[in-house]
Structure formats: structure tokens, C-alpha cells
Symmetry: C2
Subunit: 188 residues, 2 copies
């Protein structure tokens, strides 16, 4: 028995992520997905089941990648506030590539339990990481100690979404930069 070549599942998912991010779930056809994923139709259905399961897998992978990027940014810099700034800066820099997290939230809201679970798990870990780093920043005197770290984290996440919606709508870079600065100022 031989196994000639097994295609790269993650690379295929990245293609699916690009299509779903740009066109949403309903706006993405199987043909578009097949083309972007670089695999055959049969392989798609064999590997992922159906379009919805593929979508969920794409959202999960996208979210994990985003979390990893946010964690890395948060960890960077001498002080915790530098990490927070780096995370926001990264969001602004990538604001013109559509966000599958925001996109799937807007498209389906809380109507699909499996999608809600994926979002909840990802949101929880990101939230916890930001809270931890925010406490550090408070201890270092860079963030107002009077503010609730939980509320601060929610505020940051909401503004990440806000910046991405603005970028998706075509706001110019100076606007996004101003948003970034306003958010950083709000922490003090």
C-alpha cells in the first residue's frame, strides 16, 4: 500500500480563509474554494465533510493564527504597555485584509452553536491574555490602576473590531492611526 502525496491541509485552509474572509460564507461557492485551496473537489469533501464544516475549520484556524499573532505582539517590548501598543499597531497594519472573525460574527451572530463555541473559546483565551498583560501594565504604572482589567480587555477587543470594520469600509491609514492613538490614550 502506497500513499503518493497527501495535500497540505493547513495550506488549503489558508486558501479557504482568504475566500471566506473576502466573500463571507454565503458568498463563497465551492468552485471559488476549490480554486483558492489548490485541491480537487473530491479532496475538499473527503477532508472536510461539507462547506459548513470547512467554514468552521477555517474560522478556527484563522482565529488561532490571530491569537498567536496577538500573543506574540503582547509579549514583545520592554514594558507591558509596549506589547499592547504593538498589538494595536499590528491590527492597524493588517486592517485592509478582511477579518474572518468579525466577518463570521456579523454574518451569523449567535445563531450557529458550533460557530459560537469556536468564537467563545478563541475569545476567552485572547481575553485572558490581554487581562494578564493589562495587569502587568497597571503594576508598571502605564495603565490607570483604577480601571477594571476585564473591562480594559473588552474595550481593547471591541476597538480591534472597530478598527477592522473601519479598515474594511475603506478608512484611510491616518484615520486608523488616529484610532490607535485614541485607544492607547484611553488606557491612561
Amino acid at each position: 500500500m502506497a500513499r503518493p502525496r497527501e495535500f497540505d491541509t493547513d495550506a488549503a485552509l489558508d486558501g479557504a480563509i482568504a475566500v471566506f474572509s473576502e466573500h463571507g460564507y454565503e458568498g463563497s461557492s465551492a468552485q471559488m474554494l476549490v480554486d483558492a485551496m489548490g485541491i480537487g473537489r473530491q479532496s475538499l469533501y473527503a477532508a472536510f465533510g461539507d462547506k459548513w464544516q470547512l467554514y468552521c475549520a477555517a474560522v478556527r484556524r484563522y482565529g488561532m493564527g490571530e491569537c498567536a499573532a496577538h500573543f506574540e505582539a503582547l509579549r514583545s517590548g520592554a514594558r507591558a504597555i509596549d506589547g499592547i501598543a504593538a498589538m494595536l499597531r499590528h491590527v492597524v497594519e493588517t486592517a485592509y485584509t478582511p477579518c474572518l472573525g468579525v466577518g463570521s460574527t456579523c454574518e451569523f451572530g449567535a445563531s450557529r452553536p458550533d460557530l459560537v463555541d469556536i468564537h467563545a473559546a478563541l475569545g476567552r483565551t485572547l481575553h485572558m491574555a490581554i487581562v494578564a498583560r493589562m495587569r502587568d501594565a497597571q503594576r508598571e504604572g502605564d495603565v490607570a490602576a483604577s480601571l477594571d482589567p476585564e473591562a480594559l480587555a473588552q474595550f481593547l477587543i471591541a476597538n480591534i473590531a472597530g478598527i477592522r470594520v473601519a479598515g474594511r469600509g475603506g478608512a484611510d491609514r491616518s484615520t486608523l492611526a488616529a484610532l490607535q492613538e485614541m485607544v492607547m490614550r484611553a488606557l491612561r
Copy 2:
């Protein structure tokens, strides 16, 4: 020649707004629209042309209604800052009904010129109204005079989107209230 009854175009558009808000453009079928609008299929196409033109009309009407609500809130209260707070409070109170503005932005980004035009016109008027009220609040000493009113308005609009995305994702009311408070604090 007789005209038996002409259906209420605005009421029909409200039905379309409800469907498009909940399911997006691609997720809304003509049958769903006809049912929600309370008119026949033939009337739909006669009155609006096709699904895309209906969508644009719905987005325009929705945006005008939202702008009107924001203007009214902004105008309320003794001081300008009260009006700003009222606007944010209203956003939190309605955060569980999906926003067609955010939804259409996420679904299509800046890829459809006619949709971009509609968004731009609405965004411009809302932005100007907030800027004006923000200047008042600065004059009254309730908003930091060192901040650029334009940036403040952009910040507010981005946070309105952020709050709505959070609400769409199922965030609980206390989270939304905390966001509202964080935004108000950021103005000082």
C-alpha cells in the same frame, strides 16, 4: 382609470431591512424578502428593479433612520456630553438587533461603488454631527480640549461599530455597559 391601493414602500423596505440585517445580502432569498415585506414578488421587482437595488435602498433607508436616531440623541440633554452619552446608551440598548450598516460593510467592504457611495454619504453626515457636538462639549469643558474633534468622532463611530459587533456576537449587557463607560471616560 383607477388606483386601487398602492403599498407602503417604506414599510416594505423596513421588512427588507430586517431580513438583510439578519441574514446578509447573499443569505437572503427573494422569497424571504417577499414574505417579510408583505408584498408580492411582482411588486418587489416593479418597485425596486432587482435584489441588489432593493439592498441598496434598504441600506440607504436604514442608514438614514440610524442617523436620525443619533441626531436626536445628540441633541438631547442639557450639555453636549449628555447628548453624546445618550447616543452611546441608545447604541447599547439596540445592540442585539443586527446593524445593516456594519453588516453591509463587512459583507462587501469597499468592492461595490454604489454601496460605498451610500456609506460615504451617511458616514459624512454622522461624522459632521458628532464633530459639532464634540466641539460644544469641549467648549463646555466636558471633553479634553487637547483632542482633535475629528479624531474623537472617528473614535466614537469605531466604538459604535465595536459595541454592535460585540452585541451581535452575544456579549452580555454588562459587557456592553462597561464598553459604553470606557468610551465616555476616554473623552475626558
